[in-house]
């Protein structure tokens, strides 16, 4: 306690220097005054008494200095001296220092940038209170085996009414809408999310302006209201709060802007849509506009399943309890409603749905970048070690002069810390640049990746990492110094390099082996992902993207209503599609064009169906993927016709229903019979199979093609359509202005959206694996480079050190080849050991990659052999340069130096 008080006094004197100084002056003044008074009491004249009093001090300044010394901690002065010394050393060898700082900067920078992403995506607190209480409620279908189906509206209502384990349930579905503001000329297609008002309560999000949806706005006939997403509000309405209370046109109907929702409120919406077996397309990262769902049993009967359902667990309830309870409810519904036959419930935690897909990839990247950091550390450790060796003599002299080992070790600590702090600073600068690049490269379906930044947590992580590295590095040379042989070090003459001790050399070899091993692990991982990416990019998607573009439009139901009584004869819609298609085909430069309800690679939706004549058997068939396309689809996309005929212009709303199936459907359902001429029934109508076509990919190129049926779009008109256009030459995107003009000519209120080359959609579909593979490959490349530098550095050093010995060997008759083999053999030997260890670790760790590779085994021999070759050859190359230098050892000079 007293000791602590003493320390406090010292620190006070450090921080409050002026106050301490004043106190000291006061104390001395008091002493002089007392002494003067004592003098006067002895009968001295006042002046004389004062003079003598001052004299007893023998110089106030010197005295002050001494007292001040007692006040200031000694270690602080030492630290300042060490720091100055270290700084001079850093500056005195700019090349070496730059190498150390740059290497560390890469390691720390890459690590910080990836941690920044991990932090933003996985670690930042959820925008929702108690996110662990949120669950997704999926419906299952035991018939088709699907486990992530959206729910029907009546089911949602029944779940909400009967459940006790869930305190609230909300339903949502993606719904892109065309938005127009009064007076604004061009309508705009924006990403919408239709929700029941309860969704906001379930999630626990609050408006940042205005008010949330009222309960009656979620009922049929309620007022049309919208909430704007924060980002959309900022970019389109310049964050003008006055927009609240105004009316905008949503799909040509006026709707009141009730409020603004914070940007984070849409966390997970996209991942939920992707998780569903089928759902409305939701491809944007953010919700632009939130719409109030006003569902009724009439508009959304029990047989349609459009709603993604989210619930909040009641206090005390567990997900398992909710699963049990809802399964019981689902079983009751099965008994009550025949249409609910085979339906069950699947409860998943919200967190696993949102982050489940991205977590392993991010952790893999983080692991990889940590390996890279270790490689850079190993490299820097070797550099510092070599540096210590060069300074053995300096240290020996200082120790001989009486410097304590602890004092010298401390100086090394300060030097290492200076390097590490500089490296860390370089790393942070690099991280800022890298993070920006990473975020723009990252696939957009990674939740909240766009919020990644270097925040307090990332900064603290980097500071912590840097500190640990600094302490490790400081320990290194200090440990070396402990074993320093003073006698030996002092005896050697100036000008000759003092060799590292045996233990130091062994340590250096270990560092090289470890560095190579880490590099091998990293490169093996990168190799597997690259091979996998190569496989993915070579998968035949079933269609040809050359010079093809896609664009979508949506007809507003105000002016293009679907009357189900006369379906599929909806003249307004059918006529619009037909006129649009023929107008586009007439544009010069268009080789082929077609319409489809969903663009290629959009999974679209599935339907239950029966094969006419095989009804009993059909009850056990899973749902079949259902596509609606116009004539010309096969030509435009290059999908092969395998049998029968394609959909023709004559297959319209008035002609008999026909259908084309893909090869997967033919194999699955017509293995023994000829499908052509048979009939498939769905939506209450039998449709005769007229042709068989090749398999397209629907759910990403890594998933097998599902059985699918293609119906003429004229026999199942929809308000949404994708127009696919193949240009006869050049860039298809050059046709976009003409296509826009044709659409505007037909209806100026309909917007064209989602315009992009089909090749780009195909590329984007593998954006996530590409992101992982490219990053890992970059890390691997840097690691190889560092390993090469490491091997080269150590061998160069060894050669310099062994020059005399090599000279003697050559004098005794060793030829160049012997010398090369001797030197390069060391490097290659170390590398081989590292490769063996790294391969073992990579083999053991390859299981972690299982969920991330496609079309290659995680122990793919081609990759592993390739990695061995690459690393060994680079190690050999790195060894050859020093080995060749060794052959230039001059026997005469060597002998002279040895004497």
């Amino acid at each position: 306690m007293d000791r602590f008080r003493g320390l406090l006094v010292r620190f006070r004197s450090l921080w409050k220097r002026e106050a301490a100084e004043r106190d000291l002056d006061d104390e001395l003044r008091f002493h002089v005054a007392m002494e003067t008074e004592a003098g006067r009491a002895r009968g001295l004249a006042p002046d004389e008494a004062r003079r003598r009093a001052l004299l007893t001090f023998g110089g106030i300044e010197r005295f002050r200095e001494e007292t001040r010394d007692a006040d200031r901690p000694r270690w602080l002065d030492d630290a300042r001296a060490d720091l100055a010394h270290a700084w001079r050393l850093v500056l005195s060898r700019p090349g070496f220092s730059a190498a150390v700082v740059f290497t560390l900067g890469i390691g720390v920078g890459a690590n910080t940038a990836i941690f920044g992403i991990v932090n933003a995506v996985l670690l930042r607190p959820s925008p929702f209170p108690r996110p662990d209480r949120l669950v997704m409620i999926w419906e299952t279908d035991r018939k088709s085996g699907t486990r992530h189906e959206p729910a029907s509206w009546p089911d949602v209502v029944d779940f909400a009414e009967r459940s006790r384990t869930l305190q609230a349930i909300g339903a949502m579905t993606g719904r892109d809408v065309t938005l127009a503001r009064r007076g604004a000329s061009e309508p705009e297609r924006v990403t919408g999310l239709a929700i029941t008002p309860s969704v906001l309560a379930v999630l626990g999000v609050h408006v940042i302006a205005g008010r949330p949806f009222a309960a009656d706005e979620g009922r049929p006939g309620g007022q049309d209201v919208v909430l704007l997403g924060e980002q959309f509000w900022r970019t389109r309405f310049s964050a003008d709060p006055a927009i609240v209370g105004h009316t905008i046109l949503v799909d040509e109907r006026p709707a009141l802007v009730a409020g603004i929702l914070p940007e984070a409120a849409d966390l997970g919406v996209r991942q939920i849509h992707e998780r569903a077996d089928y759902a409305e397309t939701f491809s944007s990262a953010h919700v632009d506009v939130w719409l109030a769902l006003q569902p009724s049993v009439d508009s959304f009967p029990r047989e349609t399943h459009p709603f993604l359902t989210v619930g909040r667990l009641a206090p005390g309830a567990t997900p398992a309890a909710a699963q049990r309870e809802l399964s019981t409810i689902a079983a009751a519904l099965e008994r009550e409603y025949p249409v609910n036959a085979h339906r069950g419930v699947n409860i998943e935690s919200y967190g696993s749905v949102v982050f489940g897909a991205v977590r392993p990839a991010l952790l893999l990247l983080f692991g990889a970048v940590t390996l890279l950091l270790l490689v850079t550390c190993a490299n820097v450790a070797n550099l510092l070690l070599a540096r210590t060796a060069a300074r053995t003599r300096e240290v020996a002299v200082r120790m001989a002069l009486g410097a304590a080992r602890a004092r010298i070790a401390r100086q090394f600590l300060v030097e290492s810390l200076v390097y590490v702090v500089l490296g860390g600073a370089a790393g942070v600068v690099l991280a800022f640049a890298a993070l920006h690049g990473l975020v723009s490269l990252a696939p957009s379906d990674v939740p909240r990746v766009d919020t990644a930044s270097i925040d307090g947590r990332v900064a603290a992580y980097t500071a912590g990492t840097t500190l640990v590295i600094g302490i490790l590095f400081a320990a290194l040379p200090a440990l070396q110094m402990r074993r320093l042989d003073l006698h030996h070090a002092l005896k050697s003459h100036g000008g000759r390099l003092i060799s590292l001790g045996r233990s130091a050399r062994r340590f250096q070899a270990c560092v090289i082996v470890a560095e190579v091993a880490l590099t091998v692990m990293l490169v093996a991982g990168a190799g597997l992902l690259l091979r996998s990416l190569w496989r993915l990019s070579r998968v035949d998607p079933g269609f040809d993207t050359t010079r093809v573009l896609e664009a979508q439009y949506q007809l507003p139901s105000t002016r293009y209503p679907i009357d189900f009584k006369r379906f599929p004869d909806i003249p307004a819609i059918n006529a619009f599609h037909a006129r649009m298609l023929s107008a586009v085909r007439a544009i010069p430069g268009v080789a082929a064009a077609a319409l489809a309800a969903n663009p290629p690679l959009d999974p679209g939706f599935t339907n239950s169906f029966t094969i006419v004549g095989r009804e009993a058997e059909s009850a056990h068939f899973p749902e079949i993927r259902t596509r609606f396309v116009s004539p010309g689809y096969l030509e435009t996309l290059g999908v092969p016709l395998l049998g029968g005929r394609a959909i023709a212009e004559s297959d319209d709303a008035h002609s008999p229903n026909v259908i084309v199936i893909n090869r997967a459907a033919a194999r699955r359902y017509f293995a023994t019979t000829d499908p052509i001429g048979q009939s498939i029934a769905f939506w209450g109508a039998a449709r005769r199979i007229v042709g068989i076509i090749g398999d397209e990919k629907f759910r990403g190129v890594d998933a097998p093609s599902d059985p699918a049926v293609y119906a003429p779009i004229a026999q199942a008109p929809l308000q949404q359509a994708t127009i696919l256009v193949r240009a006869s030459r050049g860039d298809a995107m050059a046709l976009v202005p003409d296509i826009r003009a044709e659409l505007r000519a037909l209806d100026p209120q309909v917007a064209l959206f989602g315009v992009e080359p089909l090749a780009l959609s195909l590329r984007s579909s593998i954006a996530k694996p590409r992101f992982d593979a490219v990053l890992l490959a970059a890390f691997g490349a840097v690691a190889i480079l560092l390993a090469v530098i490491g091997v080269y550095g150590v061998l160069s050093y060894t050669v310099t050190e062994r020059m005399p010995e090599l000279g003697v060997r050559m004098a005794l008759g060793a030829n160049r080849w012997n010398v090369i083999r001797l030197v390069a053999g060391t490097g290659v030997g170390l590398a081989a050991l590292g490769v063996a260890l790294g391969m073992g670790a990579a083999y053991a760790g390859s299981r972690l990659l299982r969920s991330m590779v496609f079309g290659v085994s995680t122990t793919d021999p081609v990759t592993f052999v390739g990695v061995i070759l690459i690393v060994m050859l680079t190690a050999l190359a790195a060894s050859l340069a020093p080995a060749l230098r060794a052959t230039r050892a001059d026997p005469m000079q060597a002998l002279r130096a040895e004497s």
Binding site: R5, G6, D23, F30, E66, D69, D71
Partner: protein, 110 residues
């Protein structure tokens, strides 16, 4: 970290200061006067070493300081012995007794 003093004189001064303060808290000038008085003017405390010593002892936590008013109502810094300081005083007294006894023994040999 050890504070062992090689300097015997300095060590002695520390001992004298601690002893002087063991009776009552006082300011630096008072400490010097007290030592001088009790030793019947044999021990003259050099002010140049008194204050560094006082500050050093304060940093070690053996004595503590606070500002107060002196007898003649001036602002003065008063030092008092802490519990650690009292322990230290006992230890130093014991050491000194052993030391001086040993010196006596050596000098007693003829």
């Amino acid at each position: 970290m050890s504070h062992a003093n090689a300097d015997v004189l300095q060590g002695t001064l520390d001992l004298l200061i601690l002893k002087a303060l063991s009776v009552e808290p006082m300011h630096g000038w008072g400490v010097a006067q007290r030592i001088q008085q009790i030793s019947r003017d044999v021990l003259q405390v050099n002010q140049g070493s008194l204050y560094p010593a006082l500050h050093r002892l304060e940093h070690r936590g053996w004595i503590a300081a606070s500002w107060g008013a002196s007898d003649n109502n001036r602002r003065a810094k008063f030092y008092r012995l802490t519990a650690t300081g009292r322990k230290q005083l006992h230890a130093e007294v014991a050491t000194w007794r052993r030391f001086s006894a040993a010196i006596e023994l050596v000098l007693a040999v003829d």
